[in-house]
Amino acid sequence: MSNIDERLLEIRQDFPVLNRLVYGKPLVYLDNAATTQKPKCVISAISDYYLNYNSNIHRGVHRLSQEATDEYEKSRKIIKEFINANNTNEIIFTRGTTEGINLVAHSFVRPRLSKGDEILITYMEHHSNIVPWQIVCEETGAKLVVAPINDAGELIFEEFEKLLTERVKFVSVVYVSNSLGTINPIEEIIKKAHSKGIPVLIDAAQSIQHMKIDVRRLDCDFLAFSGHKIYGPTGIGVLYGKDEHLDKMRPYQGGGDMIKSVSFVRTIYNDLPYKFEAGTPNIEGAIGLGKAIEYVNQIGFDFIIEHENQLLEYAQEKLSEIDGLKIIGTASRKASVVSFVLENVHPHDVGTMLDVDGVAVRTGHHCTEPIMRRFGVPATTRASFAFYNTKQEIDILANSIQKVIKMFS
């Protein structure tokens, strides 16, 4: 047994759900791009909060409130260090990537937009990085401009550069495409945009769990991700923003916690990051996310990258051997996501048939309808891998696909 195999066995013990059966078959969970499973330490951190120190934060003088506040703020610090932000003021807790993007659209971009201005995105964005911009464009008369991709599912960088005119006031780009797996040349995108003085938001929903992200090295202005895709709970996410931007931005929502003082004449907003955290936040979520990131640190990106790359390569090789299977998204730099279509079998049928073999995959348009149209398919089947997946699981996937093909032939 190789070192990786031994390590894997241990890691899999951290995820109790991986031991369950589905229709009597061992679960093969390959829907990690939709959401990852949670390690025991995250689950216990959440129940520990409820069992031992549940209380509201930032408000009580009592002991429990202090403990909860400390743990909540400790998570912020873990996240700050994880992405190498300058300070914890730059870490805003949100509900997820979607809320982070909406916050920036509303509080940063909209006030700067006039008629005729443009926002530049790419063809491979998730709906959550399309619709918020359409909304602000509708309200301001600005225009949403979309940089094209090639047949491999890669951004055509020359076209992106051409579209980066003086009319563009903001660039918002996905780091890793959730339906194609493409890793975008994010450093070059940011450099190019900054050379023209244009701020950039990175949708890191599908990259934060796969690679080391250093916001200071990237020099991105904003970066959003979701806790549930990096082994943490749902309903919690992070928006990173340079504090020089966050400072000047108007609040996103008004309410408790985001104010210093309120009177009917004048309200003074709270300092960062609280200005953007109105109302009682998702305390258990923040605590769970902090724990999840500690866990990822402990596994280490060296292992994660090496193993996930092996899985990706193995899966692409195995699936390419299957007659009538076409992989959608063949970029030269990819994260561990494989989307595919089968001749004559609709992805929905593939999904149901794999399900009864215990294999959980995602089928559909993956909230990226423009990509589906670009590739002329109604939907795809997507297998997405996490560091706890194994090559044996990919064999099960491949065998199950063969069965589907046989049934429909």
Partner: protein, 155 residues
């Protein structure tokens, strides 16, 4: 796996491969489009009703979708021809009952006739919408004399 076999019985596989009444019906006087945004299934149903007798003279469908939705549409068209609008509505209700009833309940398979092939769908709640799309679209076409769009997310 028994349930899976039932879901994809030969009849469904056959209708998926060779859909009956597939294509447009230029002479139709009822028409509706259906859409399942979750999986991208898209369907159009064309119906020609004899306004004197109230009978469905012809019905065709077109669209792209999974085997369940395509076969369901195809089987539906074969059942509708010659039926009155009232009979078509009754058939819809019967169909609806078949795909949404509790799988453990004892369904009277004999009286279901051709609808019995849809019994397997009940085991897979995620697929009920696939099977239902054509039927809801058909109902919508009958209700509206003009072109309308129906989405499974409004059902």
């Amino acid at each position: 796996m028994e349930e899976l076999k039932e879901l994809y019985q030969q009849v469904i596989l056959d209708h998926n491969k060779n859909p009956r009444n597939f294509g447009e019906l230029p002479t139709c006087n009822r028409h509706a489009e259906g859409h399942n945004p979750l999986c991208g299934d898209q369907i159009e149903v064309f119906i020609l009703v004899d306004e004197d007798t109230g009978k469905i003279e012809d019905v065709r469908f077109k669209g792209a979708g999974c085997a369940i939705s395509k076969a369901s549409a195809s089987i539906m068209t074969t059942l509708l021809k010659g039926k009155t609008i009232e009979e078509a509505r009754k058939l819809f209700e019967q169909f609806h009952k078949v795909v949404t009833s509790d799988p453990s309940s004892n369904t009277d398979v004999i009286n279901l006739g051709k609808l019995a092939v849809f019994c397997g769908v009940r085991e897979f709640p995620a697929r009920v919408k696939c099977a239902s799309l054509a039927w809801h679209t058909m109902l919508n076409a009958l209700d509206n004399h003009t072109t309308t769009k129906v989405s499974t997310e409004q059902l």
